[in-house]
Amino acid sequence: MKGKKKNLYYWAFVIPSLLAVFFVIVLPLILGIGTSLTNSDGHTAVFIGLNNYRRLLSDEQFIYSLWFTIRFAFVAVILINVIGLGLALIVTQKIGKISLFFRTVFFMPNLIGGIILGFIWQFIFVRAFAGIAEATGLTFFNAWLADTTTGFWGLVIVFLWQMSGYIMIIYISFLANIPGELIEAGKIDGANKWQAFWQIKFPMLAPAFTVSLFLTLANAFKIYDLNLALTNGAPFGSTEMIAMNIYNTAFFQYQQGYAQSKAVIFFLIVAVISLTQVFITRRKEVDL
């Protein structure tokens, strides 16, 4: 085909997607940086330079939400990876067809959206836990989601329920790629299952750790639906995560310029997390 015609087809194939990405993601990002330099309330806007960013430094609720989200992400990432790997190890043992059933069940919560998961667990924490407390007299089950601590752990538990099955799937696919001969060789050398795991499988799982770690981390930072449905930031904004803080600033307090400066900072944080993952996984691949 002639060069010119070929070029025409090339662009006809590529341009629609590029336009969609441009108008939906890139243009808003660029305009957003502009908005973050104004005092926009959604209707009128005056340029105020870096004032929004200066204000962020002393915004107690924003800093609190950021810190709450970091703590949440830290705890959730560790637990989800431990549980996800545990589940993966259970379903990859030689236990016959039942392993498929286990897999199906463990993954199921991941298919349900954050809003619905949050409501399901709101009932469980608020009503079912209260029922258990009455029946058993255990004060542990009292007043869940009514204070910051139980709100925090409530969010962790639901996120764990949602994400562990997903992380399990990632670990399964990496476990399946470990050559069988390696395990066999270990057995011949007299390794038991415990040693085979820690000394042969575990080191081979390094790339899976990086992928899962950063995937959970990025997802933990972006949580909104679950937060809204489970606690809605209550009590008194003490369980308000960073995404919800941005949303509320923009759509309840109508400070769109200010909210957008938070959104820009949020973008930088998530981008650093994701880029670190790319960087580390690439380097690991070279090592192997």
């Binding site: 085909m1 070929k6 087809y9 194939f13 590529v14 629609p16 997607s17 590029l18 969609a20 990405v21 108008f23 939906v24 993601i25 890139v26 243009l27 808003p28 990002l29 305009l31 957003g32 589940l87 043992q93 236990i95 039942i98 286990f102 069940v105 463990f106 993954f107 199921m108 991941n110 298919l111 349900i112 959206g113 954050g114 619905i116 409501f119 399901i120 667990w121 009932f123 469980i124 009503r127 079912a128 029922g131 258990i132 990632i170 299952k193 992928v211 972006k222 809204l228 449905a229 995404a243 949303y247 923009a250 759509f251 769109q256 909210a259 959104a263 820009v264 949020f266 998530v270 994701s274």
Partner: protein, 274 residues
């Protein structure tokens, strides 16, 4: 041998215990959805003593279930059709024309994947609002924009294992690139299309934040949106809220049981390859 067997049974028992605790929350919701308002307070986590199936007809009406379901279905399927058509075409062109421009486009798409939704939502809604392009069709375009990069990557990865000689043979038979793509290449990309459809379907069907910002007409609300307002109205009437939740979950679980192999495969590919 007996050691192996004990090990096997210990693992199975552990698995069963986790399974029970894993799905028990669903049962609590299901049992609750069949109870009377009074019984939910006296018997919260066990099988109902008296069944109240009317909760379901009331929740069905309250959620405007038929309508919400169709709204969700319309938005999810139309978005996915557009995503599949244009992402596969773009990936084909990028994979078959190795040039600096293609590499630049590829990296451009990779970079946009780093941008979280919340950091563009405010200007996005304001832009689309100004040109009066919100609600269903605006939402479909936005879904397309957000899904493009990941879908292009998945198709691009699959293109690498499809030999160029196929294109060349079809070209000698006198096809335009358009015909070659749709008649020869796209059918071979089928497994990837399944992955792209599944990954996007899970996300779009459950999406809440974007539709909540874009859809401003009550009659167009999707299931998660309806559920949100319904739950707000009925938290004092738990039995209705719970029946509504069951109605929202059932289609997903039924579909999952039928095509779970494809879903698990699709999710694996999506997680490991992008």
């Amino acid at each position: 041998m007996t050691r192996e067997k004990t090990h096997k049974w210990l693992v199975i028992i552990l698995g069963v215990m986790i399974t029970v605790s894993w799905i028990y929350p669903f049962f609590i919701i299901f049992f609750g959805s069949l109870k009377s308002r009074a019984e939910i307070f006296t018997n919260t986590i066990w099988i109902p003593e008296t069944f109240v199936p009317e909760n379901y007809s009331r929740a069905y009406e309250g959620l405007e279930y038929g309508r919400s379901f169709l709204n969700s279905l319309f938005i999810t399927t139309s978005s996915i059709i557009i995503i599949v058509i244009f992402s596969s075409m773009a990936a084909y062109a990028l994979a078959r024309n190795k040039s600096k421009i293609s590499t630049a486009i590829y990296f451009f798409c990779a970079l946009t994947m780093l941008i979280p939704f919340q950091s563009v939502m405010i200007p996005l809604v304001s832009i689309f609002g100004q040109i009066d392009f919100l609600n269903r069709f605006g939402l479909i375009i936005m879904n397309w924009g957000f899904a493009s990069s990941m879908s292009i990557f998945l198709y691009y990865g699959a293109m690498r294992s499809i030999s160029v000689s196929l294109d060349e043979a079809a070209y000698l038979d006198g096809g335009t690139p358009f015909q070659i793509f749709w008649r020869v290449i796209f059918p071979i990309l089928r497994p990837t299309t399944v992955t792209v459809v599944i990954l996007n379907a899970i996300r779009l069907w459950n999406d809440f934040l974007l539709p909540s910002l874009v859809i401003n007409q009550e009659g167009m609300r999707t299931i998660p949106l309806r559920m949100y307002y319904f739950f707000g109205e009925y938290t004092v009437q738990w039995e209705l809220a719970l029946a509504g939740l069951v109605l929202a979950i059932v289609p997903i679980i039924v579909l999952y049981i039928f095509i779970q192999r494809y879903i698990v495969e699709g999710v694996t590919k999506g997680a490991v390859k992008t």
